[in-house]
């Protein structure tokens, strides 16, 4: 609605006493968008690599997720099979086309049914590869696309997420810098999802319960070391 657009913008300008054409104001906005200053970055995540990984693990557990720390990608299929067995889950999972997941030695666990695609809500277990981990809060960062469909993050009961220890950063800002390096300035994939623990709700008498609408369990498969 063009009429509404002009009415609202005119009203904003009137209240601010501006025309939107002032060169200094435009420059200030352009500078901020281009420079995207970081602001206050907490010291918590600013650690040498091994301590950063230790903090990430602590924070993941504090967010009520579970975690396996594996020496290499070769161990991932076995760890997944063990996770499913321990919880009496069917030996089946859904993943995207991420080459890092495709290249896993799935033949080591021949009983695992590995399906590829987005979720339609009928799968109990989803597997994703994170773009990053964030030590500051035990968060994993997932990017939309065929490699790791967004529906896998939310529909399955169990969400398993592979995180490369070399991609665990101290803070969110480092991850934004990496995302800009991959997608360009001012551009993002359709969805960037920060996930910190499994789904929960405290809407009934403020009692915290896990497993609201998203995954009841979030399991992090942290692989390798940071250096």
């Amino acid at each position: 609605m063009t009429g509404s657009r002009e009415t609202v913008l005119a009203s904003v300008r009137r209240a601010l006493g501006v025309t939107s054409r002032e060169a200094p104001r435009r420059q200030e906005v352009a500078d901020r968008l281009k420079g995207h200053p970081a602001g206050v970055i907490p010291a918590r995540g600013q650690l040498p690599p091994s301590e950063r990984i230790a903090l990430f693990k602590d924070m993941v557990l504090a967010a009520a997720a579970s975690l396996d720390h594996l020496p290499s990608m070769d161990e991932v299929p076995g760890a997944i099979a063990a996770y499913l067995r321990a919880r009496n889950l069917p030996s089946s999972l859904l993943r995207g086309t991420d080459p890092r997941l495709a290249d896993l030695p799935w033949h080591k666990e021949p009983q695992l049914d590995v399906w590829i695609g987005a979720s339609d809500g009928h799968q109990l277990v989803g597997l994703s590869h994170a773009f990053a981990g964030i030590a500051e809060s035990g968060t994993v960062v997932l990017l939309s696309g065929q490699d790791n469909p967004t529906t896998l993050n939310f529909l399955p009961d169990h969400h398993l997420v592979v995180v490369d220890a070399r991609e665990v950063d101290g803070d969110y800002e480092t991850v934004w810098t990496r995302i800009r390096a991959r997608f360009g300035e001012g551009a993002l994939p359709r969805a960037v999802n920060w996930v910190t623990g499994p789904s929960r709700s405290a809407d009934i008498e403020q009692t915290l319960l896990l497993g609201a609408h998203g995954p009841r369990s979030l399991h992090i498969l942290l692989v390798g070391t940071a250096d």
């Binding site: 609605m1 509404s4 657009r5 009415t7 609202v8 913008l9 009203s11 904003v12 009137r14 209240a15 601010l16 006493g17 939107s20 104001r25 906005v29 901020r32 968008l33 995207h36 602001g39 206050v40 907490p42 995207g96 987005a118 979720s119 809500g121 968060t139 939309s144 696309g145 065929q146 967004t150 529906t151 993050n153 939310f154 529909l155 969110y172 800002e173 934004w176 993002l188 359709r190 969805a191 960037v192 999802n193 920060w194 910190t196 623990g197 789904s199 929960r200 709700s201 405290a202 809407d203 009934i204 008498e205 403020q206 009692t207 319960l209 497993g211 609201a212 609408h213 998203g214 995954p215």
Partner: protein, 480 residues
């Protein structure tokens, strides 16, 4: 359901709330829960106060350049294949949303929690158009099936207990076995998950709010703990973001600064479970995501707030900390405030949005204890802004006559110290005399509101000013 404005009846609402035993039981948990959790989260983050300053400064900067950030945001949403719709008022926003729904032949719409949706009365409007809105946040779902309104901006069903929830689920979910066990909250949650899962998968359109809109990338940011917002915005054919103008922030880094104070101030989490950044519709090679992406930018009185003191209120990021720490909210709950936004932030925002004529009572429901300002993550001077509305109420002759005359008499005296001091001294002496040996009054003319519930203490000694002067004099003589 649409909120009927009962703010002018705040006093009656409050009296009802104080008598409601079930509500009082629920409200007793508000303070102990939220206050401790926020404190603990803030204590674990040494930079918390610096982050609050940073959050305030980001919002202040954005509001001063809002025209330019709105234009930039619009351009970036378009570049990502999305649509931006400006809405002057509630009717405008409702029409934009129903047009999109009708064009897509939508029958069911899932909804993430949105206070703006309450503000514009969206659900009733959709229903009237034959479109079924389904609230998916657990708390919003509970109040939707009860035909109630939220009583808290982040915990909409905080006024309910689990017995009420069980009764409602038995009433509404009639397809489930009548003898099922719902005594544990986990069973209630599992049942809601099952019921809503089908709704998520069959919805044609998903409508969510936004915690932030990022100008740099044309992105909407949504924060939830349940994951309901993500299912709402990912699964249907179209995602409609309903947000007000002041949700704009310049960059990803700016949004990140604000996110660091949002969950800590709200629930005491370092970060909410799901923080999702959505930019445009499904891309060419995406296997999932909505086919259309729309942002409805609602003004509804906010642009006018940019002028003058009230601009500071537009920094609000809707964390709920002010009401979680408010002794008045603790006593009367959210519904008593009579419209969408309760607590201290509601007391400032409501008169701005529905007019001081209807909202004038709300800023009076404050002891000015200042706890709201102390905990506000973006440092909004809420007591100062409530005082702003009290002054407006007085200027516009909205205050009841006895109160106006009382204030005028007091004002006349208080601005004339030579008269005020002897007058108060005399009144005090008289009261002390009348109070006699009992030292208190069980009834007093003009103070019936007080003495109906407790005694009024008779004054002892001298007036404060007289005592102050006496002490200063004696200090001086000791020093000498």
């Amino acid at each position: 359901m649409t909120v009927a404005i009962t703010s002018p009846h705040l006093k009656e609402n409050a009296a009802e709330a104080l008598k409601d035993a079930q509500l009082q039981e629920a409200l007793a948990k508000v303070g102990p829960g939220f206050i401790g959790k926020r404190r603990a989260a803030a204590d674990k983050m040494p930079e918390f106060e610096a982050l609050r300053d940073s959050a305030r400064d980001i919002k202040t900067h954005t509001l001063a350049h809002l025209d330019l950030y709105l234009e930039q945001f619009e351009e970036k949403v378009r570049a990502a294949g999305g649509h931006v719709h400006f809405a002057v008022d509630a009717a405008d926003a409702r029409a934009i949303i129903t047009d999109i729904c009708k064009r897509l032949g939508a029958r069911t719409v899932t909804k993430g929690k949105s206070m703006i949706s309450e503000e514009i009365g969206l659900n009733d409007h959709l229903e009237a158009q034959g479109i079924l809105p389904v609230e998916t946040d657990l708390g919003e779902y509970l109040i939707q099936i009860r035909h109630e309104t939220p009583s808290h901006i982040i915990a909409p069903a905080i006024h309910l207990n689990k017995r009420q929830v069980e009764a409602d689920f038995r009433r509404v979910h009639t397809d489930l076995p009548a003898d099922r066990d719902l005594t544990e909250p986990t069973a209630l949650l599992a049942e809601a998950r099952g019921e809503l899962r089908q709704k998520f998968l069959m919805a044609d359109v998903g409508i969510t709010g936004a915690n932030f809109l990022i100008a740099e990338t044309g992105t909407s940011v949504l924060v939830t703990n349940e994951g309901n917002g993500d299912l709402t915005q990912t699964l249907p054919k179209a995602h409609i973001v309903l947000a007000s103008l002041e949700k704009l922030v310049p960059t990803l880094e700016d949004a990140t600064q604000l996110l660091r104070v949002l969950a800590r101030s709200a629930t005491g989490q370092d970060m909410s479970v799901y923080t999702s950044f959505s930019t445009g519709p499904r891309r060419a090679d995406d296997p999932d995501g909505p086919g259309e992406y729309h942002v409805v930018l609602l003004d509804n009185g906010r642009s006018a707030m940019l002028q003058g003191d009230l601009r500071e209120m537009l920094r609000c990021i809707r964390c709920g900390a002010c009401m979680n720490h408010c002794p008045v909210y603790h006593a009367i709950g959210g519904h008593a405030y009579g419209w969408v936004y309760p607590g201290p932030m509601g007391a400032v925002l409501t008169p701005s949005l529905i007019g001081v004529e209807k909202g004038a009572n709300l800023p009076n429901a404050s002891t000015f204890c200042g706890r709201c300002e102390e905990v506000c993550p973006v440092r909004i001077p809420l007591p100062k802004l409530m005082r702003h509305w009290r002054e407006k109420e007085f200027e516009r002759h909205l205050t009841p006559a006895p109160q106006r005359y009382g204030l005028k008499v007091w004002g006349f005296l208080a601005t004339r110290g030579w008269l005020y001091r002897p007058a108060t001294r005399l009144a005090m002496k008289a009261l002390a005399l009348l109070g006699g040996t009992r030292g208190r009054f069980s009834s007093l003319p003009l103070a019936g509101g007080w003495t109906r519930y407790r005694d009024f203490p008779a004054p002892e000694g001298d007036t404060f000013q007289a005592q102050w002067r006496a002490r200063k004099a004696s200090n001086r003589s000791t020093a000498a």
